[in-house]
Amino acid sequence: MALAGHSDAGGPSVLLELRGLDKRYPGTHALKSVDLAFIEGEVHAIVGENGAGKSTLIKLLTGAVRRSGGAIVWRGAEAAIETPQDAIELGINAVHQEVVLCRHLTVAANLFLGDERERAGLLRHSQMTAEAQHILDDMGFAIRADALLSSLTIGQQQLVATARAAQRGTRFLIFDEPTAYLTRQEAAALFTLIRRLSADGVTIIYISHRLEEVFDLSDRVSILRDGQLVLTAVTAETDEASLIRGMINRSIDQVFHKEQMVRGAVMLETRKLCGRGFSDVSMAVHAGEIIGLYGLIGAGRSEFASALFGRDPATSGEILWDNSPVRIRRERDALRLGIALAPESRRDQGLALSLPVGFNINLPIFHRLTRGPLLDGRRETTCAERQIADLSIKAPSRHVAAASLSGGNQQKIVIGKWLNHGARLFIFDEPTVGVDVATKAEIYRLMGKLLREGTAIILISSYLPEVYELADTLHVFARGRLVASHAHKAASHETILAQAIGG
């Protein structure tokens, strides 16, 4: 790979260069005079917290917004990237975190959208399907080209988006958190593709919160903080700790914040619980502890949690709550007991994004905020403001729409909802997907706070370091069964992975 050090970063191998690139939005200075050069064929990782300026950088490069100052230089000549079309003509493409494709069309139709194969004005369906299948097979993605996009998992849709971006003459490809929803196999296929594209001379920007991926894939890495470029380094010459220091000015030990709690009484117990996607699961959850559920997607951990929350009720077995048997048939049964779920997809399930922050926080407890038939405005305000303050939710006010907040702050709203509700058992389903290191640390600290108040937590995660560091008891799921249980840090990463894969 043609990777040179800093010395000749201005040499002929530079494909794209940012000179003093600047972007101001009303009220914020999102990108502050960034100078950065991308060498042809390199994989350049960019890390930084949410709000550090990464998305702004992508938007500028893909023509979604216009710069306020500075220049973008493409192969030595200044390029005016004013519209998405300009970017595409240069060969700049991006794979976004949220899939932006048509769910009702087939995979092949999506791959060729805007670039259809026609003869005499009519679409050549079979040719496009065959070509699409060839492209997907070639990339090592196990996806059928004639499947409807909506029938695929989010991870597979992400791969289709990647294939779409990669196959249309791309010279410069930007990945924004591409592995957030991918399984391990899918991620592996994606990495292979990225390495191949890079070997073919495609320049790649890789944005991820998962630092191990940055070290695995990238040649160089740049850190953004508060819209400024902190440093650019050859990846092999740096380490995780210094990256995190650069991103947040804080050391790594403070990220996984684990407090030693006194374990309380048994709160929830399941006995040979069976349901759709899992069977024979027995476990106990005590007050003051974090139960980690680890497993690959489809291993049954999320399905088990769904049963506890009444979304997909258990078919047989027993659930005991405070030592007495209960039946949880609907969400409302679970809520009444004090079980709350922070779902994986905040966008689809967790929040009413178009409505105000305060509205979302109070949504589960409106029935308690009434005086007679009417709502008590003052108590509404108090309840919302208390959560906003306690969780330090960064919002200009409780009246702004939840959609205008960052992912981390949205997650806090979900938690605030349930704190308000007075839940005793929190089920967190992938709470830190797509969340930056600082917010992660904050969410973990919050879990500590929840535990101190006598609650229990079930933490579901596909991210092993997270459950590994935090869970008092770690249950490993594989093929719908609970295959192993470990005390805090009692087993190695390798053992746990092997159990999750091998079953």
């Binding site: 929040l351 709502l375 200009p396």
Partner: protein, 319 residues
């Protein structure tokens, strides 16, 4: 933490509501100069009567639209109810019983809509389109296509009367519906739930909100408002005829949309549809006074919908 400055509630709704009030006032000023008989007591009370029925329909419709649904049946319900109440009064039933029975039928129709949506999984557009056509059919079948005249004078006089000699009864009914609607939408949890399921019904469900009950509530309220309008209409025209109130559902939706209600759900107010309805009524009334061709009235109304909703879009985009 920068969340301490608290702007006034509903920063969005008030200015837009105010623009509508100003628009209405502007229309009135223009019309009082352009015509000699607009600002007469008789015309104003006439205008209040004309706008009242669409206003109530639009208000009911707004409850449904806030949940991201639609109710196409409201005009048909109103027409159907004129037949029902005329028939009941002809049978000699007292007024209070006929009114209660009519509202009860409205409740039943709304519940049927919600049943179709919740239990049969039909889109709101489809189930209410189905009742739109079939209710008119049932009404015609009941009367064999004939018109029933209402001979109960006490019932028909209601629409001519007024409160304290100034406020026409029909307009008083609008106020009587608007007050509870204001409390309901802004100050009760069920009102909030309408917005919640309109914004994201899955999130609402996971928060313990009963989406089923809220859906029933919205469609029942809409259908009962329509039944109420049917009663007022019967009182005003003195007959029962299933083809009455043709196309009123579209006027009601237009009034709601002019009043700032978003067809995508989760945006709407109690006062918007009322103002929207009276803006529409003013335009029709003014056009009549100025002898504008009634075909032109329709075109003007259509253009106005585009202008008002587009300016609302622009205003939202700026934020």
């Amino acid at each position: 933490m920068s969340a301490s400055q608290t702007p006034p509630r509903k920063r969005f709704a008030v200015p837009f509501g105010l623009t509508l009030v100003l628009l209405l006032a502007l229309l009135w000023v223009l019309l009082s100069f352009a015509t000699h008989n607009f600002m007469t007591e008789r015309n104003i009370s006439n205008l209040a009567r004309q706008g009242s029925m669409i206003a109530i329909l639009a208000l009911g419709e707004t409850f449904v639209i806030i949940t991201a649904g639609i109710d196409l049946s409201v005009g048909a319900i109103a027409g159907f109810i004129t037949v029902v109440v005329a028939g009941l009064l002809t049978q000699g039933l007292p007024i209070w019983a006929s009114v209660l029975a009519s509202l009860g039928i409205g409740l039943g129709i709304g519940a049927f809509h919600a049943f179709g949506i919740v239990s049969m999984g039909l889109p709101p557009f489809i189930i209410t389109l189905a009742t739109l056509t079939s209710l008119r059919g049932i009404g015609l079948l009941l009367t064999n296509g004939a018109t029933i005249s209402i001979t109960n004078d006490a019932f028909t006089e209601f629409s001519l009367g007024d409160v304290f000699g100034v406020v026409p009864n029909l307009f008083a009914v609008v106020l009587a519906v608007a007050l509870p609607a204001w409390l309901f939408l802004g100050h009760t949890r069920w009102g909030r739930y309408l917005f919640a399921i309109g914004s994201n019904s899955e999130a609402a469900r996971l928060s313990g909100v009963s989406v089923v009950r809220t859906t029933y509530l919205a469609y029942i309220l809409s259908a009962m408002c329509a039944a109420l309008v049917g009663l007022l209409l019967a009182s005003r025209i003195g007959i029962g005829n299933a083809t009455q109130a043709e196309g009123w559902e579209l006027q009601a939706i237009a009034a709601a949309v002019i009043g700032g209600t978003s067809l995508f759900g989760a945006v709407g107010s109690w006062h918007g549809p009322l103002l929207g309805a009276f803006i529409l009524a003013t335009i029709n009334n003014g056009a009549n006074l100025m002898n504008v061709n009634s075909f032109w009235q329709r075109i003007i109304t259509g253009g106005l919908i585009i202008v008002i909703v587009y300016s609302d879009q622009l205003r939202r985009r700026k934020r």
